[in-house]
């Protein structure tokens, strides 16, 4: 073979290695995500749906945390017309039903005006309050509650 043919052959060989090399060296037949590594030919089942933990009330992690909901709340109507949470948690019926009263901060409008009803800015409870479930952290972390840091 003359020099040109050798050079071309070498070039092709280099290109082949460059193309196939990465896939053979870092062979990965799957996807890595928050759920960990998942092979493409396997199913990856989501964790079971959690039922709310209706036992003890979970402790809050910081003073201003919206308290968690210790009971089931599926399909409670919260819309422009009605807010069923307030059926038990608003004053004065919360006394009768032994339900924690909606915080006074919820009766303040965004402009600071005190209202006699829950402010529209705090109307949709689930924007902040969630039911308590035994859910594990997706990513290991070193979060410490403000109680632990006092």
């Amino acid at each position: 073979m003359n020099t040109w043919m050798k050079a071309t052959a070498a070039m092709i060989a280099v290109m082949l290695v460059a193309v196939m090399g990465p896939s053979t060296v870092m062979a990965q037949d799957g996807v890595t995500s928050l759920r960990g590594y998942n092979a493409l030919d396997e199913g990856n089942m989501a964790p079971d749906i959690q039922r709310p933990d209706t036992g003890k009330r979970f402790t809050k992690n910081y003073r201003q945390q919206p308290p968690l909901i210790p009971h089931r709340i599926e399909k409670y109507q919260i819309d422009v017309k009605a807010n069923q949470c307030l059926g038990c948690h608003d004053w004065p019926q919360n006394v009768e039903f032994n339900a924690p009263k909606v915080s006074e901060t919820h009766y303040v409008s965004p402009t600071g005006e005190r209202l006699n009803r829950v402010s529209a800015s705090r109307w949709f409870c689930n924007q902040c309050h969630v039911p308590q479930v035994q859910a594990q952290a997706l990513v290991p972390n070193t979060f410490t509650s403000s109680n632990d840091m006092r």
Binding site: K75, G87, Q93, A99
Partner: protein, 208 residues
């Protein structure tokens, strides 16, 4: 009495004369069987208007209350045991059922008048219609609820604390289901979440 001159051949006249050809027993037997057929046919036809499919054949129902009902526990739940339109809105005992069916002619009338023919018209009348239903349920001590649910056979161990507390109170104070469970199948109108300090637990899914 027949006005015909020839009483022997007039139809009305023949109805009032004893038959010459047929035995009494034959007539009674045929009448009995015809009666069964009529009675069965009458009730069968009435029951054809007594199911979910018939109720939502009117667009007022299908587009409004049916869509709200689809999000509730009576539509779909863990066990698949359902309550459809007639289970809650049409009484089960025959005499009350027939009375309600006759009253339903009012609903037919308003369908043709278009009283709640559009979404806006429906929302405008929502509170009025809801109060009608609540009033009737209160008067009958929630008879339709009690077709399936019963205080006596409720297992308080299976219920959450706030449920058995409220149900015990309802038993003690002789309350009825609809006092608290307004909105159980269709959305609550505005201003009804709390009536006389009674929360309306309506659209909950607290079954196991």
């Amino acid at each position: 009495m027949s006005a015909s001159n020839n009483e022997k051949t007039s139809f009305l006249g023949s109805l009032m004369r004893p038959t010459a050809k047929y035995a009494l027993g034959t007539l009674i037997a045929f009448g009995f069987i015809a009666g069964i057929l009529f009675w069965g046919g009458f009730n069968w036809s009435m029951e054809m208007t007594n199911n979910e499919e018939f109720c939502i054949s009117c667009h007022e129902m299908e587009n409004n209350v049916y869509q709200e009902y689809r999000n509730t526990v009576h539509y779909s739940n863990r066990t698949g045991v359902r309550a459809t339109c007639p289970d809650c809105h049409v009484p089960d005992p025959w005499i009350h059922k027939v009375k309600r069916k006759i009253q339903a002619s009012n609903e037919l009338l308003h369908h043709f008048l278009g009283t709640i023919g559009t979404r806006e018209k429906y929302e405008a009348k929502r509170l009025h219609l809801a109060k009608n239903v609540w009033r009737v349920m209160k008067e009958t001590d929630s008879r339709e609820c009690r077709n399936c649910h019963s205080f006596e056979y409720m297992d308080f161990v299976e219920q959450e604390k706030r449920s058995y507390t409220s149900h015990q109170k309802a038993i003690d104070e002789k309350m009825t289901c609809i006092d608290c469970h307004k909105g159980i199948a269709h959305e609550l109108p505005a201003g009804i979440v709390n009536v006389d300090g009674v929360p309306n637990m309506g659209n909950t899914n607290l079954g196991n």
